[in-house]
Every structure is written in C-alpha cells, then in structure tokens.
Symmetry: none
Subunit: 134 residues, 4 copies
C-alpha cells in the first residue's frame, strides 16, 4: 500500500483536531515510505523551530523505521546509538515521530509532530496515525 495524499491529508485533519482539543498549535509533517514529504501544516501560533523539527521527526521515524521516542534511551551517553543524531543532516531522538502502518502492519510512511511538550506531540502524532486505517 502506498500512502496517498488524500490519506495524508486525512491524517493531518485528525492531528489538527487533536491539537485543537489540547489547545496547542502544532507543526505536523507526513512523509511516505521513501521518507519524502507528502503533507505539512503549521497551525497558527506554532513555533517556527518546529517547522524543521516536525519534518525531521517524520523523516527519522520512517528512515529508521521506529517511533522517535524509542531513540532517546538508545542515544544517551554510553548507549548503542550514541551520536546517531549527527547523521542525515540531523535526526530527532525524542518523541513525536510515529511510523504509519497499513492494515498488515507494513510501514508506509511516518508522521512528525512538534511545538508542544513532547507528551503533547506524541498524543497528536498518534491521533494522526490512527486516522490512517479509518
């Protein structure tokens, strides 16, 4: 299954709805299975730095094929992936990047969310990801 732009925009809508519910404007990016940008939105008032961070979270999740929250523990001093964030022009090693999986569990892209607390970012990313199969 290939991620369509129609599905990507449906995911965006769900993520925006969750962000509105949390009253936290977000930057939201969606990439396809080639880790290339498919859709993006910056909500009114979302911080500028997160334009890049949201995209890097989506890239990181798809390019490493794992949710970014899994990278924090593995990139700490002395740990296995120490320093991996210096590759690929910058990876993000905290939560907010979530792999999008089709009905069979195959990764077909990723969503990256940034601008709130990491906890909020993760909630919005998961709300977006859940909309893929709806």
């Amino acid at each position: 299954m290939k991620l369509s732009h129609t599905a990507a925009r449906r995911i965006l809508d769900a993520a925006i709805a969750k962000a509105d519910e949390l009253e936290q404007p977000m930057n939201i990016a969606i990439v396809d299975d080639g880790a290339r940008l498919v859709a993006f939105v910056r909500m009114d008032g979302a911080i500028i730095a997160s334009i890049d961070i949201a995209q890097k979270k989506a890239f990181t999740a798809m390019a490493l094929m794992t949710d970014t929250m899994n990278l924090g523990p593995r990139t700490q001093p002395g740990q296995e992936l120490w320093g991996i964030e210096h590759t690929n022009g910058g990876l993000v090693t905290f939560g907010g990047g979530v792999v999008l999986r089709d009905a069979k569990g195959e990764p077909i892209g990723a969503i990256g969310v940034s601008a709130g607390s990491v906890e909020q970012d993760v909630k919005v990313a998961k709300a977006g990801a859940a909309a893929l199969l709806k």
Copy 2:
C-alpha cells in the same frame, strides 16, 4: 493580515482542484510573510524533485516579493540579476511561485507549485492564490 493555516489549506484545496482539472499531479507549498512554510502537499505521482522546487518557488516569491516568472528575463546572461539564484541556498527563476496578497494588496505569503510544465505550474499557483480572497 497574517496568513492563517485555515486560509493556507483553502488555497491548497483550490490548487489541488486545478491540478486535478489539468490531470497533472503537483507539489504545492505555501509560506507566510516571513517566508516560512505553512502548508505543503505532494499529490500522488508528483515528481520528487519538486518537493524542493515548490518550496523554493514559494520562498523566492515571498523573499523577493515578486512572482518567480518575473525573474527569468532579469537573470539571463548579461542581465541585471545574473546569478542571483546562487544566493539564499538556491532561488528559482522560472514561473510557479506567486505572491499571495490580501484585500489591500499587501503581500502576506506566497504559493509555489512544481511538477508540471511551467505553464501548468503557473496556472495552478494562480488558481491557489485566487482562493485567498474568497
């Protein structure tokens, strides 16, 4: 007037509708008055190179405050702005980037469209821009 993400997405919708009409999938990017990304979509089948080109067209239009189609003649060999495209990490000097203006004619952002012929790109960008004031 500040470009809202709601307005940006309405512009995207209008641009996508025109691209569908032309049967030419497009990459479409919208930036605000700070030339920072607000919204983006890559339609199914649109070429990958245009992810960057569409964003650079939108940036170029806002950052130079002129539609990109105006830059072609002025950047030819021997002309006034010869070589300007090597600044700002790369500017685009052909059509497809259009300034978004509010009801007073003030620039509040720009749209950049890429993946079709330049003529098609311009048509889609203008269709998007026209939706701002609707």
Copy 3:
C-alpha cells in the same frame, strides 16, 4: 507590533553600552518575529566564532519562543529535548538568547549575544531587551 530597524538599533546601542561597562566585546544579533536577521554588530576584538553563535542564539530564542538559558536543563542526557540542538541547522542551548516582548508581552523578535562568559552574555542580552520598551 512589528520590530522596526530603529528599535533594533536602539537595542544594539543598549547592549553595546552594557558590554562596554563589562569590558567584554560582544557579537550581538537581533531577529524579527519571523526569526530573520534585522541587525547585527561585532564589537572590536569579539571572537569570530560568536558571529554565528550570536545569530543562532537569537534564532533559537525566537524560533522556540523561549530564552535559550531555559534549554540547557531540558536538553541534558535523559531529558525531554535531548538532541534538539541538531535541528534547524544548529540551535544553541545555553544562555544569551532572549525573547523581545512588546508592551503586551507578545514576542516580536529576539536578541542573541555571544563572546563573553555565558553570564556576561545574558547580562548584555537582557540590557538590550530592556531597551525595547524605553
């Protein structure tokens, strides 16, 4: 309220005065609400590395909408924003970047100061920021 270049230069003057008082030449950068450079000065003898650091501090403060001194604790190993400095082409996570706020408390830009000790940088940045509302 939009940050004018007149206000930006008044802020520079105040920052330079404080730097002179501390007998520590500084690099001082000011960005607007789009995190784009408005004014800059490198005082005689200020270190070259700080040309970039001062600008990155100002960018970081505005783009994350927080003084850079707040980022140190949150980006330590094991903390929430671990590794965020690898985004946006490099962020600065220690003091010296201060958000500029108008009379209503709205962020309209930021000042970044670098070349002294972090404590000195912060003092000079705050002296500059205080001049906005004078």
Copy 4:
C-alpha cells in the same frame, strides 16, 4: 588599519541615509578584512532574500577584493570566471558590493547592499563606503 565597529556603524548610518533619500529600504552588510560580518541592518520593509544577498555581496567584494559590479562581465558564458559563483557557498556577480579602502587605498573590508534595483544598491553602497574616510 583595522575596521572598527564604530566605523562600521558610521558607514551603516551613511548608507541608511542614502537609502532613505532614495525611498528604498535596504539590507546593508559590512565585513572586515577577514570577510567576516561586522555590522548589518535590515531596514523596515526591505525584502527578506536580501538579508543573504547583502551579506554575500560584502563577502564577495572582500574575498575577491573587487567591487561585485566588476564580476558581471567576467562571469558571463564563455568568459574567464564563468561559474565562480558556485564557490564559497554562493557569490554575487552583480553590483552592490563595494570594497572599503583606508586612506592609503588598502582594502580593510567591504559593504554589501541589496533590496533595490542594482543601480540603487550601488549608490547606497558607495555612499556607505564614502563615509569610511570622513
């Protein structure tokens, strides 16, 4: 003679005065003999793209030790310096970058001006440069 930040700001003042006279807001950058930024200002309403172009003009003038207007003819197709603008992260090959020379004619820095027509840019840059020896 080393370019002081006091002299750089006097040059800025003169350039701003000329830009005001021409009613054309400008981005103005000044570099020292190491082609490193000393002072910068973006006047209200000056286009964003010129933040980079003004700095690149100043860099180009000092780093090649020639006013940028001299590079246009030499970088045309078939000419001696064809393609040089691809080096150094991007050089500018049209007018608006002017070498600053001390009383002995020694280059001690450069000024780069951008945002108006090239003719206006050159006028403002020369007005700034002339203030060095006043």
